[in-house]
Amino acid sequence: MTSDHDGDGVSRRKVLECMTWAGTGVLWTVAGGVPRSLGLIDAAMAQETPGFSFLQISDSHVGFDKPANPNAKGTLEEAIGRVNALPVRPAFMIHTGDITHLSKTSEFDDADHIISQSRLDVHYVPGEHDVLDEDIKLYRDRYGRGSKGNGWYSFDAAGVHFIGLVNVMNLKAGGLGNLGHDQIAWLEADLRARAASTPIVVFAHIPLWAVYPAWGWGTDDSAQALTLLKRFGSVTVLNGHIHQVMQKVEGNVAFHTANSTAFPQPAPGSAPSPGPMKVPADKLRTLLGIRSVTFKPGAQRLAVIDTPLAG
């Protein structure tokens, strides 16, 4: 944050605080609000300036067959059905990891078969469930081409700079998610030449903010990455891993975690452990879902809309 220059700095800061607050309020309305209102807002805005939208799905855990959802393949198929039914076709999809449950070839095959029915380009980052084979060969061979290090990369679309980070490898005893020195050095180089006005979208599996460290829901060295992003006016961070929607705004950075397409997990601290949460069968699909994200040029915040599979 910049320091005050002179006597009018205080009032300027107050204005900025108000703006931040207003921005936060708008975000919460858009991100966590009532879907119908969002629909109206979105429709109204869409008539003025057509936005650019993309899709996020997460934690499909293909291969999971435990009581919390004996048919994770089926709910992924339903999620892709929702994607195909969207009124506005997204530009592409990102998958924030845990594609499979046990990194088996058959699970990757099934996931590919289902997700490909969206006929969208998909940008993946791995979850810890995707890197269980000894050499992490299965994930790398399918999704790692063209990426750096353990699978990180960046690309540009519609003036937005997208950065896929990997924080599920080389985890340290007693620790959380981990980016590592090499990846942070790459991120610094990747951002160096970019104008602060470039909207940034960062996506990674484990949350890049301390959601609940007692359950491992955070990333040890995320502060270093976020420091590199501080100078940018619009930063959106999209994560998975915790199988529920949560948001937080810190300065110019908006953090969002997504629902799973496979099974829900409990709210932080509300259960003895973060294991799969069994809910009544008629409630399951209200806790699974997909997310669309719309960027409108000139807007600091991206509009994030989470759509459950049912309800």
Binding site: L102, E128, L132, A173, L176, S273
Partner: protein, 116 residues
């Protein structure tokens, strides 16, 4: 062969003394449930085998911090066993959920205990 069969059959029992190999070699079980190793701290003797059993609906691993032992991913109901042949103090964790940690103290058979 007979001793091996007994060892496999007894894996679900907390503490079984086997009449083979080491005179008092034991098989100690650590359960993995609710994202914890239970018991989290175990003291055994050289020659004892520790067996981890995953009872969670999520896979876990058992990995020594210093690299002495390492399991594959254990799905629900899977086991991993390691026989300790050296006295010492062993920290381990789940490489998928590294906030899960455990500790094994291995005492030499002669009675001299390792520093925890």
């Amino acid at each position: 062969m007979f001793a091996i069969a007994i060892r496999a059959a007894s894996a679900a029992v907390m503490l079984i003394v086997l009449a083979s190999g080491f005179a008092d070699a034991a098989d100690i079980q650590v359960k993995i449930d609710n994202f914890t190793f239970n018991p989290q701290r175990v003291t055994v003797k050289v020659g004892d085998t520790v067996t981890w059993l995953n009872e969670d609906d999520i896979p876990h691993t058992v990995r020594a911090t210093a690299g002495d032992f390492k399991s594959k991913a254990l799905d629900t109901g899977d086991r991993y066993a390691f026989t300790f042949t050296k006295a010492g103090s062993y920290d381990y964790f789940c490489s998928l959920h590294p906030h899960m940690t455990g500790h094994i103290v291995v005492e030499s058979v002669g009675g001299a205990s390792a520093t925890p």
